[in-house]
Amino acid sequence: MSLTLSIPIERYGNALLDTLQMVSVSGALALLAGVPLAVLLIVSAPGGFLDWPRLHRVLGSVINGFRATPFIVLLVALIPLTRLVAGTTIGVWAAIVPLAISATPFFARIVEVSLREVDPGLVEAAQALGCRKWDIVWHVYLPEALPGIVGGFTITLVALISSSAMAGAVGAGGLGDLAIRYGYQRFDTQVMVIVIAMLIVLVSLVQRAGDGYVRRLRNR
């Protein structure tokens, strides 16, 4: 039995590229913003070495607010901001803004947990050795929490792959969009199956790469 594709193969290729672009760019933005945010959460916490509870509370509330809002709502609600930042409200770049904004607080919370689990004895040792506050962030907190941060980033990327399926709502395309438009709305089971297979492979690859890196970090 020869397999005939119901839609041109390029569609799959383009959709994959769109997904990769959305996930990698928004993932990179989440990484850049999430880590400092998590550090700020840790050091501003009561008893942390910045000990600035008000900042801690405000940051916490903002993060909770973004995390509580469903992505599809965020996607629409953020349209004015998206226009301001990306200059457009449709397409891949328009999807990247809300994707990054929803992934950042999620990732920041995961990093926060990893940072909080750094042995206080190590922080104390660094203090006793004459490390300043930011030396401790740089030389103790971040390197020691790195396996957790990498693991958390893997989870964030997988979540982004999943969220990016909704980006079709702003005409961004991608694998998820393909599955919804052909597989769901036009009952094209073949597209659905192929897209899901592609997503499974993509998620597996990301997860394996992340796990492998974490294992390397932990085994040294």
Binding site: D119, A128, L129
Partner: protein
């Protein structure tokens, strides 16, 4: 809660090591004259607030630690006293002075400078798992802004000092406990401190490794003339390494003094309790055979001779036999040397001795054979009863 502190006067005149003292001036001798690294605690108290109400961990601690001494404290997990010295904890009352400066008055930058003069090692080593041995030891130098070439040289010196030259590129996970503590020591010495705080530094190690770490600490005290302040719950460690001991009981000073004096004649129940594992009880067999009154027939008196050191009095068996008279048999002996002082006890069985002896007379003057003599009782003479 029992704690003890010991201190050792430096074994030799401290020769200042080639140490990095300021970030830019390396291999420099201390600029000011006179001894540095003097620590004084004045009426230090520490109260913790816990769910069950305030807990008084330390009360009215007065202590002076001379430069070049080793000090140790043992306690049920309490490191408060030690940690007030580099302000990891602030006392709730009293003052801690280092070189006559109240460290509570220091600002952040001065505190960092102070901490670079006070190294610290930990029970659980607290090495950074994400950094190699080299990078762990280099950390205090990096954050102090020491140039890279000097860091490399200094770290290799330190690795040689602790005997881990071949482990520079290993990660701490790959090291044994003893090796980890050696890295901890090298790291603590990196910025050339005058004081080394040891927080239960050998408590997580097996006895052999403990010995080698203590030997290393002794070498460091000897070679670098660093004041070592150590807390431990292991009396054997204090006996091994310290010269002065402070016993803390419920956060208060119970006893303080030269270790051979404190151990030789413990005054406080807390000290006696701590010493108990080191003292030999009478063997079961002997205890059962002991009788309070002289039995009919041939018998021996059982005497306990104690030695507390101090005046060179030795457990000289020939002399003891001559002074006591009659046949002398050793039932049990436990004699040790602490700081060159003979310390311990002999349990003797004496037969055919004159009916009455003024034992007190044999503890003083030219007749002295021991510092303390106690008559434990009598046993049937095993030699002649068979």
């Amino acid at each position: 809660m029992e704690l003890s502190i010991t201190a050792r006067q430096s074994l030799t005149a401290p020769s200042r090591p080639d140490l990095v003292r300021e970030p830019t001036v390396t291999l420099a001798a201390p600029s000011s004259g006179g001894p540095r690294g003097k620590v004084a605690l004045r009426g230090v108290g520490k109260t913790y607030v816990s769910a069950a109400g305030p807990v008084q961990a330390l009360q009215d601690i007065d202590l002076e630690i001379a430069p070049g001494s080793i000090i140790g404290r043992s306690g049920a997990g309490k490191s408060s006293l030690l940690r007030t010295i580099n302000r990891l904890e602030r006392p709730t009352s009293g003052r801690v002075e280092v070189d006559d400066v109240d460290i509570a008055t220091l600002d952040e930058a001065q505190l960092v400078a102070l901490r670079r003069r006070i190294g610290m090692i930990f029970q659980h080593f607290n090495l950074l798992a994400a950094k190699t041995v080299f990078d762990n030891i280099a950390l205090p130098l990096r954050v102090a802004g020491v140039p890279r070439a000097q860091i490399t040289q200094r770290v290799h010196e330190l690795l040689a000092l602790v005997g881990l030259q071949d482990k520079a590129d290993s990660y701490p996970r790959r090291l044994s406990g003893g090796q980890k503590q050696r890295v901890g020591i090298a790291r603590a010495l990196a910025s050339g401190p005058e004081i080394l705080l040891c927080d239960e530094a050998t408590s997580a190690l097996d006895p052999e490794t403990t010995q080698s770490i203590l030997q290393l600490l002794r070498d460091i005290n000897h070679k670098l003339g660093i004041t070592i302040i150590l807390i431990t719950h292991e009396m054997s460690v204090i006996r091994e390494i310290a010269d002065r001991v402070l016993v803390l009981e419920q956060g208060r000073v119970a006893e303080l003094g030269e270790i051979w004096q404190v151990f030789g004649k413990p005054q406080h129940p807390a000290t006696r309790a701590l010493l108990a594992p080191l003292q030999h009880g009478l063997p079961q067999e002997l205890q059962q055979a002991l009788q309070p009154q002289a039995p009919a027939g041939r018998h021996e008196r059982v005497l306990q001779l104690e030695f507390h050191g101090g005046d060179g009095l030795q457990p000289d068996l020939q002399r003891i036999a001559a002074v006591v008279g009659g046949r002398v048999r050793v039932l049990q002996a436990g004699v040790d040397h602490i700081q060159g002082h003979t310390h311990g006890q002999l349990v003797l069985a004496v037969a055919d001795a004159p009916a009455s002896h003024d034992w007190q007379a044999l503890t003083q003057g030219a007749q002295a054979i021991a510092h303390h003599i106690k008559e434990l009782g009598y046993v049937a003479d095993p030699v002649h009863s068979h």
